[in-house]
Symmetry: C2
Subunit: 221 residues, 2 copies
């Protein structure tokens, strides 16, 4: 009987994800779900991306957090529509769900939006289990977290289409084996595209911006 | 009806946690539950602690991971009893539970053990929701993760008795505001003891070892 309940919940999740696919296609907006451990640089990536592409593209952000609006506040300086989802009233959930994203997104003025960033709750495990119906799942992995993480948290890397290896400016001060890290990423998901960047120095950032430009061009075509 | 089921599960968890308290007291072993984001340095902390206290204390380790034995293998060089719990057969759970710890611990030869480390699944959210019946919950927070994490993931800091701020050797290369980090830790839990250390350089490590010695002395008395 418990299994039946679980199946119903999963079916409802899938249905909600499919509705999001249609919704984002209709609005011609590229939806990007950013996932990672806490502190891997999701908010900083969004911050620097909004700064770099101001005037070129329109953005909206759905911020997922357990109980604060700290990340939303960090982004408030930009000319961008932001909706905060706090999961605390729903039991402090460790992930976002498709239905919540659509509820949050429905209030946006999509005439000015090319890219919608979803910043998921900082967690390398649970968010990977919830399909959101976005155009791309992007997993961030900070070089400070170690080369073994793709092997230890494989589902997150399996469900993602792009892996951003962040904070590369710290590489000179770490013992991390980048060749092994890359091998572990490829092993967890051979189709997973990988970009290395530092939001602090800007190294590798141009490739990330080109990735976004290509996604937007594809969606509008 | 769903709420009833949930309550039953929680009651069983509490019961299991209480059994662990009795079990660890009977064995006169200090059980320490290490929790953090992936890559905050839990395994490295255990590794360096076993090295520093070899001959002085006896250790056992319960390793929690979703599907690999990589951390257990990193510790295998030490004269230490290790049991691996993989949560993948149980749905890839994002946390450890009290009953699993006891099952894992029951096979240990406790005549040689003063401290039992439980290395939880790398996750700053979910493990905090599961009481394990240990002597101390210790949360690790790497300085690379940013000063805002205690505010954003407050439950983890509320349920912990000690916060180890790790990787302090990287401070010269980061913009992290340590005064704000400390303030955020105190705000999330005014009783939370805080130690700053680098497992790499050994800075601050002596205080951590003294903390363990005091815990062991208290348990034996």
């Amino acid at each position: 009987m418990e299994i039946k309940v679980l199946k119903k919940v999963l079916a409802a999740q899938e249905e909600d994800a499919k509705k999001n696919v249609d919704f984002f296609n209709e609005k011609k907006v590229v939806a990007i779900n950013l996932m990672s451990s806490p502190g891997s640089g999701k908010t900083t990536l969004i911050d620097k991306t909004l700064e770099a592409l101001a005037g070129e593209m329109g953005f909206a952000v759905v911020e997922g957090d357990i109980e604060t609006t700290m990340d939303a506040e960090r982004l408030a300086k930009h000319d961008v529509q932001i909706t905060q989802i706090n999961t605390e009233p729903f039991g402090g959930d460790c992930h976002l769900e498709a239905g919540w994203i659509r509820s949050a997104a429905e209030s946006f003025d999509f005439s000015r939006i090319d890219v919608l960033f979803v910043e998921n709750v900082g967690n390398l495990v649970c968010p990977a289990e919830f399909e959101l119906g976005v155009d791309a799942n992007v997993v961030l992995l900070s070089v400070t977290e170690g080369e073994d993480k793709p092997a230890k948290y494989p589902l997150m890397f399996r469900v993602s289409q792009l892996c951003l290896v962040t904070k590369t400016d710290l590489l000179p001060f770490l013992d991390v084996d980048m060749a092994l890290l890359e091998k572990n990423v490829s092993k967890s998901n051979p189709q997973l595209k990988m970009l290395e960047l530092s939001s602090k120095t800007g190294d590798g950032f141009a490739e990330w911006l080109d990735y976004l430009r290509a996604k937007v061009a594809e969606k509008k075509s």
